[in-house]
């Protein structure tokens, strides 16, 4: 392979040999002699006062070195645990410390900890800590929370954390609805999900001798953010904290956080001057690691007679859980800008009220607000199609922002960089055989039967690579949107790259090395990539929000360019030519018009190292550091199509086909892009069909193991057929956009649209997620109960009033009179 066509090649992931042969070093694999094992005593109650804690028996148990309660550790905290996204100035944020002191507010809330000489001894001793609780009423329903019937954090006086409005032109929205020929309304529940990374969380805090600070190893996505926040919370000098994220086995947002266990291990290791380690159990992971989603959405569309959308109105209730974690309150805001979808919408309003509940805190989970928003608008577009009486593909065609309108300034004020929705949709529909499917559906409906064919589609934008920093400031986000990169050529011509982004399974090392190889004309194998250690990579904003290519990768490309600029001056000096006359191709500088005069970049690197003969004003070494703050988000987009067979008798849904066209601009490595899209789609499909973090009315998690929390396995998901289009981003020199969350953002609404489509002739207009056999069957029964008039009055019961252990929400989608299927 020539080094000039590295970008775009399907190069195998350099990360995989170690991971596939068990050589990956995860936090819990690290040999740390003398480490004490930490185990947490967790509340079995969703909401209770702690009236007494007796640690005597646990402290006397074999191998136990210490047992602590909140009262024992107060001196370790300079500040409560951090929330970095105070979305409004008056947001209510209850003080949240690593151990609960007087009250617990969710099942899994930690109330005491044990340090022991082995994990087994620590876990045994946990059972000996005697905690007296005075149980209080649980709050698991969002509208119940909103009523303040039970106030969880009494000092706040209310369960409302904040209300946030996207303050646009409300009069324009009202006018759109007043003048509408068609209106539709949907009410959707985004059930809570467990991120369920393959590697649970793990921490090891290791103090250096002679007051040399503490190294905190953690299965985290955000070592840089963790370092800052750990310093703020513990009061330990930032200079004394080094954070290392070893091999990390997935995060999906759940490791974009600062957790109690990290702070406890750090503070105790620092105080005791001995290493402290902890590894999460799977059941703990379901309770003590953040949950995703958790929203009730109400969306109204106004449209003209042709079905052209004239206004969108959204009201949201966000489930914060018991406390605000790192970016908990910001998740609904990340979705706020996407409720107009990929459509040319002139009027929009959005309000969000976020409430505390007695459940595990929510936070970022793959897509973080954007899958939820896409779900609402894409379900609503199907409702509009039915109302107007046109095909779902046609209603979208009438509303897409057309290719010629990019860059497009949305009604929200954001600028969409580039897109071709009609093009992506055309590819997807063609690949799926859409017209033939519609014919088959019509024939089968005419013939009758109990298995029903459904076709669903969704078109989406992914807003990723959050930036620039000043825009984040306008949203009260307490961090920047930049990323740092260093590229240095070593004396032998090899290249060392340091990134502040922090891979945890995505294949960044492979992708980044390909960018460097193409720019510098070296082999990707000659590019070493360093990351995820604050001692090696001191500046970084870490990995989340599909930012590591459009921000992190672009920073690396820019650093390469700066290295080339400097090398060009050295080469010009050596070749006695003008710098402007040098061309770099295949890693060799050549003088234009003098093909015999050339100097390989590797030779320049050696000259830069020896510094024997450099231009007078040039420093030795060939290295450049760039901190890149992008001018805009990047906007990947696409269209997904799903084909299902629904068994009316059992409610079983079989996904017969799934087609996805995702446009992430220039693809560095199409194989890695496909892997990201595959994983993303499966996670979206899992929300649509399988997964829900169910709680009973007392706030007890009912799906806290992989037997009850239905993460789909390979036999349970269909083969995915991918197409793609390439619409480069104009905002960066690589033309790239992110792709980590795209599949998830498009998938859930696509699957549900297909299921509702399959059953529309039976009168079903709404489907509660996950579309389990039970929920599908109940929806069919409910539709029949209303005489097939197209209204599903009540599909599910309210959680708070639930008399069964089923999950809970109230779904009452109302199409306007005359609407429905």
């Amino acid at each position: 392979m020539s080094t000039t066509d590295v970008i775009g090649s399907r190069r195998l992931r350099r990360e995989d040999p170690a991971l596939l042969t068990g050589e990956g070093r995860y936090t819990d694999d690290l040999p740390i002699p003398g480490a004490l094992h930490m185990a947490l005593v967790r509340s079995p109650f969703a909401h209770a006062r702690i009236t007494a804690i007796d640690t005597t028996e646990a402290a006397a148990a074999p191998g136990v070195r210490a047992v602590y309660t909140a009262a024992d550790l107060e001196h370790l905290w300079a500040n409560p645990m951090p929330c970095a996204w105070p979305v409004t100035d008056d947001m209510r944020n209850p003080a949240h410390y690593p151990l609960a002191k007087d009250k617990v507010a969710y099942v899994g809330d930690a109330v005491a900890l044990v340090l022991a000489e082995s994990n087994a001894a620590a876990r045994d001793a946990v059972e000996l800590v005697d905690v007296d609780y005075d149980p209080l009423e649980a709050v698991i329903d969002l509208e119940d929370a909103l009523s303040d019937r039970v106030v969880i954090h009494e000092d706040l006086g209310t369960n409302v954390s904040y209300r946030w409005d996207l303050e646009l032109d409300e009069d324009a929205v009202q006018a759109a609805f007043d003048g509408a020929a068609h209106t539709v309304s949907g009410r959707f529940v985004q059930q809570r999900l467990l991120p369920m990374a393959m590697e649970p969380r793990a921490v090891a805090a290791v103090p250096a001798p002679f007051g040399g600070g503490v190294t905190l190893y953690s299965a985290t996505q955000v070592p840089h953010i963790l370092k800052v926040m750990a310093a703020v919370t513990t009061g330990i000098s930032e200079a004394d904290i080094r954070v290392v994220a070893p091999s990390v086995g997935g995060g999906f947002g759940s490791k974009l956080n600062v957790y109690a266990e990290e702070l406890l291990a750090l503070a105790l290791a620092n105080e005791r001057k001995e290493p402290v380690r902890w590894v999460e159990e799977r059941g703990e992971n379901a309770q003590a690691t953040i949950h995703g989603r958790g929203q009730i959405q109400e969306i109204d569309l106004a449209a003209d007679a042709d079905g052209k959308v004239t206004g969108v109105r959204v009201r949201l209730i966000g489930d914060m859980g018991a406390y605000l974690q790192l970016v908990t309150p910001g998740i609904p805001l990340l979705g706020a800008f996407l409720y107009c979808g990929v459509y040319d919408v002139p009027a929009f309003s959005f309000t969000c009220t976020s409430v505390f509940t007695t459940m595990t805190p929510t936070d970022a989970y793959r897509g973080a607000g954007r899958p939820e928003a896409t779900y609402a608008i894409e379900r609503a577009m199907d409702l509009l199609a039915a109302e107007v009486g046109v095909d779902p593909a046609e209603i979208r065609r009438r509303n897409y922002i057309t290719k010629d309108k990019f860059p497009y300034t949305a009604v929200t004020g954001l600028e969409y960089d580039s897109g071709d929705h009609e093009g992506a949709a055309a590819i997807a529909l063609d690949l799926a055989g859409y017209e033939a499917l519609r014919s088959e559906q019509a024939e089968r409906r005419a013939a009758g039967g109990t298995k029903h064919l459904g076709i669903g589609m969704s078109s989406y934008f992914e807003m990723c690579g959050l930036a620039p920093s000043r825009v984040l400031a306008s949203l009260n986000y307490s961090a920047g949107g930049w990323e740092s990169a260093t590229v240095r050529m070593l004396p032998t011509g090899k290249v060392e790259v340091v990134s502040g982004a922090t891979p945890h399974g995505q294949g960044h090392e492979t992708s980044w090395s390909m960018i460097v190889a193409e720019r510098l004309g070296v082999s990707p194998d000659d590019v070493e990539v360093l990351h995820s250690d604050t001692a090696i990579s001191p500046h970084g904003m870490d990995t989340y929000g599909s930012r590591s290519l459009p921000v992190g990768g672009v920073a690396i490309a820019m650093a390469c360019d700066r290295v080339i600029d400097k090398a060009r001056q050295i080469a010009a000096h050596q070749l006695e030519a003008a710098a402007g006359d040098l061309e770099l191709s295949g890693g060799v500088f050549r003088v234009k018009g003098s093909p015999d005069k050339e100097m390989p970049l590797a030779a320049v690197a050696f000259e830069a190292f020896t510094a024997h003969d450099l231009p007078d004003d040039l420093e030795p070494t060939l290295e450049a550091q760039v901190t890149y703050d992008p001018p805009n988000f990047s906007w990947p987009f696409g269209t997904h199509v799903c084909v299902v067979e629904v068994d009316e008798e059992t409610g079983a849904v079989e996904v017969r086909d799934y087609v996805a066209v995702d446009d992430c601009g220039t693809q560095i490595n199409p194989m890695i892009v496909e892997g990201q899209v595959h994983g993303g789609i499966v996670q979206g499909l899992a929300q649509a069909l399988f997964e829900e973090a169910v709680f009973d009315a007392d706030g007890n998690p009912q799906a806290a193991s992989l037997a009850e929390y239905l993460v789909p396995a390979a036999p349970d998901v269909p083969s995915l057929r991918l197409g793609h289009s390439v619409t480069p981003s104009p905002t960066n020199s690589l033309g790239v956009k992110g792709v980590g969350e795209a599949g998830t953002i498009g998938a859930a609404s696509t699957v549900i649209n297909a299921i509702v489509d399959a059953l529309s002739h039976l009168g079903v207009t709404e489907m509660r997620m996950p579309a389990s056999p039970l929920h599908v069957w109940e929806a069919i029964q409910a539709a029949r109960g209303t005489g097939g008039e197209g209204l599903v009055a009540e599909i599910a019961t309210d959680t708070a009033g639930a008399d069964r252990d089923a999950p809970s929400d109230t779904l009452s989608p109302q199409t306007q009179p005359g609407g429905g299927a």
């Binding site: 059992t650 037997a707 349970d716 056999p773």
Partner: protein, 282 residues
């Protein structure tokens, strides 16, 4: 996921296992494939003081035919039951059902005896053995061997007719090479327990129908079997499926939905059994 501490005895012969059971009584649990017991111990839902490991008693594994009966050793893994040529020819229902349990890893560790002795109403194999009218052989040091009809074996939720000092040694099922049969397993993921399952077998006017997850124990659907044997259509016979059941509610099914599913699946099972006598295992 760390069990409470326990003592461990590895039996090198059935007699050693029986002696250990006789010594420790209620305190002991037998460990075979471990795929039901060990998860319960890791979750600390079970904390036996002594584990008696019978996993290496090779004499208790294997399938053989004795006249019109097929004898399956209690330690035969699900995988080996599924792949047994004898079972595929003589009792295809049982071979098929064993291939539906869990996932390949579970099937290579879990044993038929362990599954039956665990007496989980959500397990597949008990319903098949019930439908087939099987007999289980239990042995103790004090009293020797006895036979227990499958219909008498499942006494309560996770409770069987086995005494604490008894070892389940073999499962005997009738050879039914020419029977029609079907197993309908309904679940959300391939590796899950059934939300509802129905095992049906039909030969020469004799019928057996076993139900998975329709009550606190694996159940025989006697009413369905009687109606079916008496000439009722699958749909008619299936209407009697709720008789004697006590289905529970969970995240996957309400009582109403589970009862509805049982009727649909029973009808499908009987239809399939009628349609494919002498079919091999799927």
């Amino acid at each position: 996921m760390i069990p409470a501490s326990f003592d461990y005895v590895r039996a090198s012969s059935p007699d050693e296992a029986l002696a250990a059971l006789a010594e420790h009584g209620d305190e002991a649990k037998l460990l075979a494939g471990g795929h039901s017991l060990l998860p319960l111990m890791k979750l600390r839902l079970a904390s036996p003081a002594v584990l008696v490991d019978v996993g290496r008693l090779g004499d208790l594994a294997g399938v053989r035919q004795e006249g019109d009966t097929v004898v399956v050793g209690a330690l035969t893994t699900h995988h080996d039951v599924h792949r047994s040529d004898v079972l595929r020819a003589q009792v295809p229902l049982l071979a098929h059902v064993a291939g539906q349990v869990g996932d390949p890893q579970v099937r290579h560790r879990g044993t038929i005896g362990g599954s039956l002795a665990h007496a989980d109403p959500a397990s597949d194999l008990p319903a098949a053995v019930l439908a087939l009218g099987g007999t289980l052989t239990a042995t103790s040091a004090a009293r020797g061997s006895r036979s227990i009809a499958a219909a008498d074996f499942f006494t309560g939720f996770l409770e069987s007719a086995l005494e604490p000092d008894e070892l389940l040694t073999e499962i005997r099922v009738p050879a039914v090479p020419d029977a029609g049969w079907s197993f309908q397993k309904f679940n959300r993921r391939a590796l899950d327990w059934a939300i509802v399952g129905v095992a049906a077998v039909h030969r020469n006017g004799a019928s057996g129908v076993g139900l998975v997850n329709m009550g606190p124990t694996p159940l025989l659907a006697a009413g369905v079997a009687a109606a079916w044997a008496g000439g009722a259509s699958p749909a008619e016979a299936a209407r009697r499926v709720a008789e004697g059941t006590e289905p529970g509610a969970d995240m996957n099914a309400t009582v109403e939905f589970r009862t509805h599913l049982a009727e649909v699946l029973t009808r499908r099972a009987l239809e399939e059994a009628e349609a494919r006598p002498q079919a091999g295992p799927g």
